[in-house]
């Protein structure tokens, strides 16, 4: 899902970089100390989990934990994700620096949508967590496909989507399991103390 430099039209990258910069300004202000701790360990998890690859549908995929990140951080996922993607680009060559804003925007959109689904409080919690984890992968994958099409690539780019749908199912199940686990061992992580500024 990380887009390298020179693949997508530079105009798209520039607009996305601007939007991400604005988003960082809006979501990175007045962060409470407790939020920083959660942001740091979610950011660390996002950075590190990209190294765990597995073969799927004829290619190599990795987990992202975007859904869980969105659930735990709400809008604060944007700065945490930006930092994780910046370090992935600098240290692991995952994604380009010029496209950093675009990559951040793609994935943050999925994570924020996951956060929205989680915070509707409608429906059973495991189902919301599963849906959040699923959408956090499918939406960015769709955006990547759309950006490739807008950059002049053929309709074959949509064939990139099926592997991501398979990953999204796995992420959804993992997110539901992680939420159930955290609810059991550390329920305060979902408490209003974090929701105060995160929502």
């Amino acid at each position: 899902m990380h887009i390298a430099d020179g693949i997508v039209a530079p105009e798209i990258c520039l607009v996305a970089n601007g939007a991400t910069l604005g988003g960082l300004f809006l979501t990175g202000r007045r962060v409470a100390p407790d939020e920083i701790v959660t942001m740091a360990f979610v950011g660390a998890a996002l950075f590190a989990v990209g190294l765990l690859h597995f073969p799927l549908v004829g290619t190599s995929m990795h987990l992202s934990l975007l859904g869980l990140g969105g659930i735990l951080l709400g809008k604060r996922i944007l700065p945490a994700l930006f930092l994780a993607l910046l370090l992935q680009a600098l240290l692991l060559q995952h994604g380009g620096l010029f496209c950093l804003g675009l990559n951040t925007l793609n994935m943050a959109t999925g994570a924020l949508l996951a956060s929205g689904v989680w915070r509707t409080k409608r429906g059973p919690e495991p189902l919301r967590a599963l849906l959040a984890g699923f959408l956090a992968i499918v939406i960015p994958a769709f955006l990547v496909g759309l950006e490739f099409r807008l950059s002049g690539y053929g309709p074959g780019m949509w064939y990139l989507l099926p592997p991501y749908v398979a990953v999204a199912v796995i992420e959804g199940l993992l997110t539901a399991a992680a939420v159930a686990f955290l609810r059991k061992v550390q329920p305060e992580i979902f408490a209003d103390t974090f929701g105060r500024t995160l929502r």
Binding site: A4, A32, A40, A48, L91, Q93
Partner: protein, 161 residues
């Protein structure tokens, strides 16, 4: 002031030590990192692009730039075996960039010899395996920890004042 909560420290410890361990245990699976090899056979330079597991990367974009030029000499894609070949127009250090189109790229150089010399120059192999991933991982986690500590301090001081 409590700088780090206990569970935060544990999470970072597990990530720092656990991920490379799990990664090593999954070494049979194909990871993303690219390994690019260049070598010369007579007038031809051959390019091999594979993932660190050894799986060839078909359709990877290969960009070759000559010793003098800022502009690419040619751009092409690898075949199903992950191979690409081209004929350089001059000796010197050539730069080859391989990109799999999914966010992973690797730059490698080759000192191309004049074709009349019976030499086959091979570039140093791109670092592969667990060692190449461990240090970026540890560096990244350490940077996140350091930034979080700094931001925590600033935020806590702001709350006090």
């Amino acid at each position: 002031m409590e700088l780090l909560r206990k569970e935060f420290t544990w999470v970072l410890l597990v990530l720092t030590l656990g991920v490379p361990g799990v990664r090593a245990s999954l070494s049979a699976l194909p990871p993303h990192g690219l390994v690019v090899r260049l070598w010369q056979e007579g007038r031809i330079v051959l390019v091999s692009v594979a993932y660190e597991s050894g799986t060839p990367v078909a359709g990877a974009q290969v960009t070759a730039t000559g010793p003098a030029g800022q502009e690419p000499y040619l751009v092409g894609v690898t075949d199903p075996a992950g191979l690409f070949a081209f004929v350089p127009d001059q000796p010197g250090v050539w730069r080859v960039v391989a990109d799999d189109g999914r966010g992973h790229r690797r730059e490698t150089t080759l000192d191309v010899q004049p074709p009349d010399l019976p030499s086959t120059a091979s570039t140093p192999q791109a670092p592969a395996g667990e060692d190449s991933l461990l240090w970026p991982l540890v560096t990244g986690l350490a940077l996140i920890l350091a930034l979080a500590g700094f931001a925590y301090g600033v935020s806590a001081r702001r709350q006090v004042t």
